[in-house]
């Protein structure tokens, strides 16, 4: 008896087919190559005029620091910025993607983007990938409805808070916030508190380090203070300096004209469909 099989087109979305195989291999000791993670301390807080976001600048590849001064505060819209922790590729890709979607949406509606729009786009994407897109984000911005601060977890859940921390250094930073945060901070007090929280992560967490980046967003505009504080300068530099040759050294020059090696056929068949 023959059975007729109706071919259904493959459904869109992530294919989880290889996940079990990967788990089985990991148990046998075959590990996938380690990817670049931002160990990270990222924080955000709401102050009287808007939102302040802060981040450290260390990117790690396993035990090695692969980037001593990376940028973890990503642009989403002129009035919205997003700090990212987790796999660096995932945070970059997801924030870039949603930033483009927001711009298209701005063209479509003719209005300034709202923070909840960015929030919904991000959480839907992350939920669809069931936590495999390893991006933990602190999203902050000021729109017509006021200042907003949200945290987004890799599985797609979100929280709305007056102050938030994420990343491996989040416990150290949260300790600072819980002791010193109050409502109605001024801009300088807010920057000072965010810097303290990030420094707490930098000095107490191995996955965070180097410098402090700050981004202040208010109704009037935004201020991106890259490397606002650099508490880890290079302590030992050679007094003689380092010298490197100015251009690539030429060891040998050999020119082989190819015309002698290749037969050139003039004319030939015309291409036909």
């Amino acid at each position: 008896m023959s059975k007729s099989v109706i071919e259904t087109p493959p459904k869109g979305g992530f294919s989880f087919d290889l996940c079990k195989r990967n788990e089985m291999l990991a148990k046998k000791g075959v590990n996938p190559p380690s990817f670049r993670k931002t160990g990270t301390t990222i924080v955000g807080l709401i102050f009287q005029d808007g939102v302040i976001l802060g981040a450290d600048t260390r990117a790690t590849e396993g035990p090695i620091v692969c980037d001593k001064n990376c940028e973890k505060i990503h642009y989403m819209a002129p009035n919205i910025y997003c700090c990212g922790a987790g796999t660096a590729a995932d945070t970059e890709a997801v924030t870039d993607m949603v930033s483009s979607q927001l711009q298209l949406h701005r063209y479509h509606t003719g209005r300034e983007s709202r923070v909840v729009t960015a929030l919904t786009l991000l959480k839907r994407h992350l939920f669809n990938y069931q936590g495999y897109v390893s991006a933990a984000l602190v999203l902050g911005g000021v729109d017509v409805t006021g200042p907003h601060l949200h945290t987004i977890y890799p599985h797609g859940s979100t929280d709305t808070l007056p102050f938030a921390t994420m990343g491996s250094g989040s416990l150290a930073a949260m300790a600072v916030f819980e002791s010193n945060y109050r409502e109605g901070l001024t801009r300088d007090e807010g920057i000072k508190l965010v810097t303290e929280a990030i420094c707490s992560g930098i000095f107490n967490d191995l996955g965070s380090g180097s410098n402090v980046d700050i981004c202040v967003i208010t109704k009037g505009g935004k201020e991106y203070l890259r490397n606002h504080l650099q508490p880890n300068p290079r302590t030992y530099t050679s007094s003689k300096g380092y010298s490197f040759p100015k251009k690539t050294e030429v060891l040998l020059t050999k020119i082989t004209p190819l015309k002698e090696k290749v037969e050139i056929i003039e004319g030939g068949d015309v291409m036909e469909e």
């Binding site: 987790g86 959480k123 992350l126 939920f127 936590g131 390893s134 933990a136 945290t151 977890y153 890799p154 599985h155 797609g156 859940s157 979100t158 929280d159 808070l161 994420m166 990343g167 491996s168 989040s170 416990l171 002791s179």
Partner: protein, 228 residues
């Protein structure tokens, strides 16, 4: 002691959620703790989410799953309200939640309690636990903290309570669960829904009644901070 914490572990709301009917409406109550493994990710979360003007849902289980389910149901109910021409009933809301929970039972991990008031049936509570069963009850409890409340409700629940009695019962129950369940804590939030509308209340954790062996705070950091 293994102190390794996976801070990117899926967010679960340890939780205690309660829904109780009274003479004239319903009272929903919940704690406010969201945990990632052993770390409290949000100590003041709001687990009672609005679906329509007159129907709310208490969420427990995976934070991501319950947020997405309630977002979809809010969207469907909005469309339904437009098509129907009047406010949706709590039975329809509960049914939509049940359809999503049951049809995706292998992928979702969420226990929900739907409570609302409509002009046809008055105040109703519907429980939709893990597998996607829908059960209408005069009161419902859910979440990890509910294990400690089954006996309490068997003894304390009465038919035909007033609004204040019902709310006091809910606050007392959540407070007892918080005392015994590590995954529940923070503040107690309640939502009262009746023919007049919706009222939200908030009971901070340090103002709750003390239970057996619980001590008065002494040299509390809060006092030190407030005095400085």
């Amino acid at each position: 002691m293994d102190l390794e914490m996976n801070l990117n572990a899926p967010h679960s709301m340890g939780t205690t959620i309660i829904g109780v009917t009274y003479n004239g409406g319903v009272v929903l109550g919940a704690d406010s703790r969201t945990s990632t493994g052993m770390y409290v990710a949000n100590r003041a979360s709001d687990k009672i989410t609005q679906l329509t003007d007159n129907v709310y849902v208490c969420r427990s289980g995976s934070a991501a799953d319950s947020q997405i389910v309630s977002d979809y149901v809010r969207y469907f109910l909005h469309q339904h309200t437009i098509q129907l021409g009047q406010s949706a009933t709590s039975k329809v809301a509960a049914n939509l939640i049940r359809l999503l929970s049951y049809n995706n039972k292998t992928m979702l991990e969420t226990g929900l309690i739907v409570g609302g008031w409509d002009k046809y049936e008055g105040g109703k509570i519907y429980a939709i636990p893990l597998g996607g069963t829908l059960i209408e009850q005069p009161f419902a409890i859910g979440g990890s903290g509910s294990s400690y409340l089954y006996g309490f409700f068997d003894q304390a629940w009465k038919e035909g309570m007033t609004k204040d009695e019902a709310e006091q019962l809910v606050v007392k129950a959540v407070s007892l669960a918080i005392a015994r369940d590590g995954a529940s804590g923070g503040v107690v939030r309640t939502v009262i829904i009746n023919s007049e509308g919706v009222a939200r209340n908030f009971y901070p954790g340090d103002k709750l009644q003390l239970w057996h062996e619980e001590l008065e705070p002494q040299n509390s950091l809060l006092d030190l901070l407030n005095s400085s």
